[in-house]
């Protein structure tokens, strides 16, 4: 083992990088703790129904699974009340299975509110919408867009139910933007004993504060009233950039743009930056399927650098050359790669703490990963190359790339409210 000379200026970057890697694990590790908070007094129901009626629930990653004895789908709040009054043992709510934690799995009674999925009222004077809590974010956004309205900060993954998103603190990006639960002004809550409580933020702020991100622990949220804003469009820009320099620029980008995030492209030394800002132009376009585009950019970058072996050895030096070598197997494996989403620097400190305690790393290799798809949104081939030109560490890289591929730059605006891919 040789000791690399580590410039002091890279220390912070290194720590942030470590934090990024650990964040994915952080939620999983946290799950065990959270599960104990949910309905702590409930006892597992041991009487299982006939296997033929049992169906397996799992979250989207497949890491959380359960086969509840009873999976109920009440069609109304009254049915839910009746169900809760008549059910003994553990009862847990399920949304769309987009949480990483063990909030949902139960062997007893699982309840989905998918049938409570309608808009109740849109109040343009008050600028609020009241909707049933099983409605999905994307469906609500579509209904709002038809009225010229929008959620203030809609996450790009928008299949979550309102109750699930609110209860778990689901959020989009945007350093200045609060998460969805912060825009709740009222909700209806069915307590475990079946009683309905109407909670209003202006009348009972403490209860509302407790109920906003309550992880299902207070009961079932059946209806929410949410603040909305006039519909707006976002322009989206995606680019590739050396990870180190992007981490350096991350605080500035987060402050400058309505939304900023980036995806680490493992084994390559690069990251895909994504930013969104409000767009007032009329030349709207549909977002294109982005999963492959950034990877395609990276492949082009590899091929292009491959024609300039001298360049690979300069600029970033050995590091870049080795990263280049690593790209080949990456693309040959049909995305055995997952990309890490993070919203730096909010939780980096906690995640780094986990790493320092030696907790991170476990589970990365021994937990089955059912989903193998890499996921990066992009619609502008060549943008990343342009971004690379602003790299502050490699003069040769900057000049060469700008000369060779600057023409590939492309920017586009996307319409937001009715297309879920618009925001990342």
């Amino acid at each position: 083992m040789s000791q690399a000379p580590a410039p002091s200026r890279s220390t912070t970057r290194r720590q942030l990088l470590t934090g990024t890697a650990a964040l994915a694990l952080f939620d999983a590790l946290r799950g065990g703790t959270l599960a104990q908070l949910v309905l702590p007094g409930a006892q597992a129901q041991t009487q299982a129904r006939a296997p033929s009626t049992q169906r397996r629930w799992q979250n989207w990653s497949g890491l959380q699974q359960a086969t509840p004895a009873n999976w109920a789908t009440p069609a109304s709040e009254a049915e839910l009340q009746q169900l809760l009054r008549g059910t003994k043992g553990e009862v847990r709510p399920a949304g769309s299975g987009h949480s990483f934690t063990a909030l949902v799995p139960t062997q007893a009674t699982l309840v989905s509110l998918d049938r409570l999925a309608s808009v109740v009222n849109i109040d343009k004077a008050a600028m609020t919408v009241t909707a049933q809590a099983g409605m999905r974010i994307g469906a609500l956004a579509r209904a709002l867009d038809a009225q010229g309205l929008a959620l203030r900060n809609q996450p790009d993954v928008d299949v979550q139910t309102l109750a699930g998103a609110i209860s778990t603190g689901t959020h989009g990006t945007g350093a200045q933007l609060p998460a969805l639960h912060d825009d709740i002004v009222a909700m209806r809550l069915v307590k475990p004993d079946g009683e309905v409580v109407e909670v209003r933020a202006d009348q009972d702020p403490d209860l509302m504060a407790a109920a906003r991100v309550s992880l299902g622990s207070l009961g079932f949220i059946t209806q929410v009233t949410v603040r909305v804003v006039p519909a707006f469009n976002l322009a989206r820009h995606v680019w590739l950039q050396p990870l180190d320099s992007l981490i350096n620029e991350a605080p500035r980008l987060a402050a400058q743009h309505r939304h900023f995030e980036f995806y680490v492209l493992p084994h390559t030394g690069y990251a895909a930056g994504i930013r969104h800002d409000v767009y007032t132009g009329q030349d709207l376009m549909l977002p294109k399927p982005g999963d492959e585009d950034v990877l395609g950019d990276l492949k082009k970058l590899r091929d292009w650098l491959g024609r300039f072996p001298k360049l690979r050895r300069s600029g970033h030096g050995e590091g870049l050359a080795q990263q280049h070598v690593a790209v080949g197997p990456l693309f040959g494996q049909q995305t055995q790669v997952r990309l890490v989403e993070d919203h730096l620097p909010a939780r980096a400190r906690q995640a780094r703490h986990l790493v320092e305690q030696g907790q991170a790393g476990q589970g990365f290799v021994d937990q089955p990963q059912r989903q193998a798809g890499g996921e990066v949104g992009a619609h502008a081939p060549g943008v990343g190359v342009q971004a690379l030109a602003v790299d502050d560490q490699g003069g040769l890289v900057q000049a060469g790339v700008a000369q060779g591929l600057a023409q590939a730059r492309e920017e586009g605006a996307v319409r937001r409210a009715d297309f879920s891919r618009a925001q990342r």
């Binding site: 999905r136 994307g138 469906a139 997952r338 790393g361 996921e375 009715d418």
Partner: protein, 125 residues
């Protein structure tokens, strides 16, 4: 191994999060949907109102927009799936497959509902 590269390795091992159920890599259809297909899909609904309600609240989140899921009404996306037979599609729907969640976000759907929804979505517009 240099410390920085070790750190990078840790980052590489942490490639955990694909971000959305719709987003996972599917079999690539021979002809991806054009913008016109996506816009058309947005307006498509099953004729039966109860089925349309289920479609809107469950299926449309992924199949009614441009995503990795086969697009409603887009024949080329569905052709390779249909070739596997309805029973296979039904099985994948009930049990989940790649980005497709088990029961397709419709835990209350019966078998006939699922069959009807698959038929609706896979019928070329």
């Amino acid at each position: 191994m240099p410390l920085f590269r070790q750190t990078r390795l840790v980052a590489g091992l942490g490639l955990l999060l694909a971000l959305g159920a719709c987003q996972e890599r599917p079999p690539t259809p021979p002809t991806p949907p054009a913008d016109a297909d996506v816009l058309a899909a947005e307006a498509l609904r099953p004729a039966r109102p109860e089925l349309a309600a289920i479609y809107e609240r469950s299926c449309m989140a992924c199949h009614g927009v441009r995503s990795a899921a086969p697009l409603t009404g887009h024949g080329p996306s569905w052709q390779p799936r249909l070739a596997q037979g309805m029973d296979t599609l039904l099985k994948h729907t009930r049990e989940g497959l790649r980005g497709m969640p088990a029961m397709g976000l419709c835990p209350d759907c019966g078998e006939q509902d699922l069959r009807d929804l698959i038929s609706f979505m896979s019928t070329p517009r």
